[in-house]
Symmetry: D2
Subunit: 338 residues, 4 copies
Amino acid sequence: MSIPRTVYPAPFNITRASHVVMTVRDLGASRAFYVDMLGFIISDEDADTLYLRGLEEACHHSLVLKKATEAPMCERIGIRVYTEDDLEKTKAHFEHVGLPVKWVDVAHQGKTLHVSDAVGTPLEICATMPTKPRMIVKFQHFKGAYPMRLDHFQILSPDVQRACEFYAGIGFRLSEYVAIDGTDDLVFIFLQRKGNTHDLVFVNGRGPRLHHFAFSVPDSHQLIHACDVASSFGYGVKLEAGPGRHGPGHALFVYFRDPDGHRLEFFTTHYQMMDIEIEPVRWDVSYLRNRPWGLPPPKSWYEEASLFAGIEPCNPARETYTATLEGLLAEQGKRSHL
Amino acid sequence: MSIPRTVYPAPFNITRASHVVMTVRDLGASRAFYVDMLGFIISDEDADTLYLRGLEEACHHSLVLKKATEAPMCERIGIRVYTEDDLEKTKAHFEHVGLPVKWVDVAHQGKTLHVSDAVGTPLEICATMPTKPRMIVKFQHFKGAYPMRLDHFQILSPDVQRACEFYAGIGFRLSEYVAIDGTDDLVFIFLQRKGNTHDLVFVNGRGPRLHHFAFSVPDSHQLIHACDVASSFGYGVKLEAGPGRHGPGHALFVYFRDPDGHRLEFFTTHYQMMDIEIEPVRWDVSYLRNRPWGLPPPKSWYEEASLFAGIEPCNPARETYTATLEGLLAEQGKRSHL
Amino acid sequence: MSIPRTVYPAPFNITRASHVVMTVRDLGASRAFYVDMLGFIISDEDADTLYLRGLEEACHHSLVLKKATEAPMCERIGIRVYTEDDLEKTKAHFEHVGLPVKWVDVAHQGKTLHVSDAVGTPLEICATMPTKPRMIVKFQHFKGAYPMRLDHFQILSPDVQRACEFYAGIGFRLSEYVAIDGTDDLVFIFLQRKGNTHDLVFVNGRGPRLHHFAFSVPDSHQLIHACDVASSFGYGVKLEAGPGRHGPGHALFVYFRDPDGHRLEFFTTHYQMMDIEIEPVRWDVSYLRNRPWGLPPPKSWYEEASLFAGIEPCNPARETYTATLEGLLAEQGKRSHL
Amino acid sequence: MSIPRTVYPAPFNITRASHVVMTVRDLGASRAFYVDMLGFIISDEDADTLYLRGLEEACHHSLVLKKATEAPMCERIGIRVYTEDDLEKTKAHFEHVGLPVKWVDVAHQGKTLHVSDAVGTPLEICATMPTKPRMIVKFQHFKGAYPMRLDHFQILSPDVQRACEFYAGIGFRLSEYVAIDGTDDLVFIFLQRKGNTHDLVFVNGRGPRLHHFAFSVPDSHQLIHACDVASSFGYGVKLEAGPGRHGPGHALFVYFRDPDGHRLEFFTTHYQMMDIEIEPVRWDVSYLRNRPWGLPPPKSWYEEASLFAGIEPCNPARETYTATLEGLLAEQGKRSHL
């Protein structure tokens, strides 16, 4: 296998990761967690749905929480294209390559497409949303993590190579990737459209499942403050991993689990990545044994993820990464970390 | 007059503010200021030139300092297009509208065009540079301001309206603007391509002159630390304005004057601005009387700027903003600020 | 004149600056300013009085705001002694040196003395207060400046030398001082008991008047955030000076004026000062022309202060510092700062 | 058993934790770790000894590293008394209670006593040191963690109750303590003289051994930066625990192991604790199951510590805490943390 090249010009203009739609058992508990504790802004709410956005966002929503009728899941991840013309081209492209596509009506969004990507991830694509005031200097309302804006999604997939080929084919650039040492077997891929390191991350594993969605925060002070505020709400145990420093992408991060077990990341420090001459950064998977710093994440971080509604995940055909991971976990256990 | 609409698709793909070329009297003094004190990284240097970049930048240079043969000036501001094909289209476009354009050889850059924009600003446009390692996690080398990457330029111009029309015509979007109260007379325009609030800012005044170039820093802690380090080098007086909070763009800022009087800004807090539905934010010029916070900048901040090499600046034809400014300065003097 | 030596052992054990009692015209406006905006904690309130404390304080109050019956003033500054036995010794000492002293009943305080110091400053001295829960990890209630604890007072006095002799005589140590160049004429003195740089600061000027009271904040991030929150409440103009870095004491500071014009400082970075071998740090007053960094404070910062209730201030007999200051202000005006 | 009361007035005036003397195998490696990476300042060095201090310290040294002639150990922890007269009283007191005491000559210190406390901890007590310039505003020299000043020591001891009685008897105040649930069996005690939460911490365990020494840092930003810089030196793995938030004392912390395995803590957020009415804060040991936040420390953090030179540690007579701890570690293992 080899690293696919980005198609340029892209068949249609995707601009960025847009929003995510999750189902939750108790909207009140979710509201307490996301709004009261972490500082998300409510754009709209009704009996069944909570529409949230980050402090700098003018779009109507980047996080939609719906009352679950069954187990909590991720319904869809949202992608923006630039214009409605791009949306038509999107539809044509998905039809052309034989992937599911249909027009849908979605509240508080412009014209919207539901599609599935080549590895089965359910996407929701639109070009516009109603706007809301940016809260970016409404400092008196800042709370918890000061969540600024949705940045990216990480998706578990049994076929990372195929995901990479698919997204390179619609104009995504690979900023960094992790491969099995000495091979081009892809384990992690970081794909971007908006000009920083990633909008979409795929990682080898049972999938498709949503590993996490990520919001940017202003600085390291806020990551610590988010943990402190969580603890003062009795939610210190919801901190699953971090604070620590990632290898690929270099972000400073923390991961929380929400009341339904959905995982979200807050991070700082992504870099601008837009020039044509920049080659993707390669990491051998063995870097995991030598992370920059931070206590190792628990097993749950590697194994648990949100299901996509109506989609049964599959195990990876190739087990190389799983074997690596099990070796790593066993070693860490011996290193006398609890 | 009215607010011009952005042409889409753009005739060629400009991606971002790229670099700036300044002349200085004493390269040693500049090196002490930018490298030892503020923490810029040296990509290359020879007897006559210092090529600097920020900590997250992989491009060869974003700040070029050349030994001046006459008074210190700005030679050109640099703009990136995405591909060499875009560079050819750039040339065709400038020729078509009758503006100066020529191919030049520039060290450490790919194929490069020299052009002038519609209000006489000398630009240098290229699609590629050689790459250098990002220093983004080489924390042991971080110093002073932790300058991350070049973000934007601010240019004094006697005809802001014309600048706005020109740049909207090649795909720039207006994120915010300041107009004389009750009119559409433009005083400040904030134009962007890279997806945050600005790559180019034009402000009414004697010009074309370069008011400042701006580098992003990680957080407010670094703005303060930059001032502290400057003071421990005996350069506290080089802080010309700030710390304070801007109205338009909302950045937290400080302004330094370098040993030759060139002005640079460090800032945090720009926001993402890329969706089609976002309308430019309008400010009445009277907001200057009610800034968010921060001691008022001195007169020098309003009046002094770097000349462009070989270009004689002109006064604005319309004096409305100047009158406003003089009123403002007079009032502030009476408010008993020194 | 010469620098007085601290008496050891002290005749009674003063431990720290304790609290300040201010009168205000509108308790609602003060509450909005101090509690809603800046994040002070309410310990108690009634129709005429608001008792506030900082986030880390267990004592009942460090800032008492009373409804003014005439113009807003400072009633008294509060000082703590360690035990009630120390309080008896305090009474004996003040009587011995012929200064006014009397027992008073003060709500929410243990046994309390009212005294005047040798330069006429009205003090309120007690050994105990009822305790309240420390809010130090109640992060969900942190707002504005995150005020931690009262740290010190600055008092304008026409006779700084006499103040220095008086306080050295009751065990205060001089950590730093400013004198007219080439002389021992004291202009500023920084006196401490609690082991950091100051509890009491006296500065030459028309007095006694209270220049400001100061609360510590956790870090530079909070100083900036306090300004931002103030501005989002429309109170950006209440920032009178800073952010900047002090010479003596080295604090990073901002100064606000409250709705009644009372001045408060938030600061970080004081240092531990308790060892016997440490000599006071001397500054020549000319350092004011070469501050570490920060735009120069306005004239109001030098000239305006809160009156003490019932006490008519006097001008300094010696005008040396005033002359220096006027020279300084004139120079700064010429430096083209507004 | 019961909580001992602090003797007042103390028989002699101890002011603060002063310094620590450690032996190391390779002074070059220690210098790289403490000076180049973490930012400690060198006060003096010779072939066998490195004298270090923090950025705000004017005392000659707070950390002394000596070339080990055998396995690396802690020689002594240093305590300050206020005057040489207090030193004489110290000697008299230790003789009176039958503990070892002798005068010694120690380079770069005033008159010095070597004593052992009631639980066998070897102390070095002096009243003065030569002074060095405070580096507190020499910002250009700030590196790594920006270590400000030595704050406290934590000592493993088999008899915490006895330690508590001994130190209360010489004027230490108990700020917080941890006891076995439902009893007064002391597990952790936090003792202070300098007016914040602790100078000396004793924790139940095989001892006397030095668990760690702790330096204060300016803010949370520096804790993260220390980890980042450590990682850029290849020392990310030396981070043993944290970042996290303590229960008792409330500090935000990280723990590093130095090249010889000695443990040091960097922290922020201690609070002022000096008023007579403040009662010690009690924690049940079961709080360990519900820490504020932070991944659980590894087993090494609980079990490993530096030996004191020439002193054979003993196991605790009472095993209650050990049992609690083993239960805790077993539970955490099951929580699927690695």
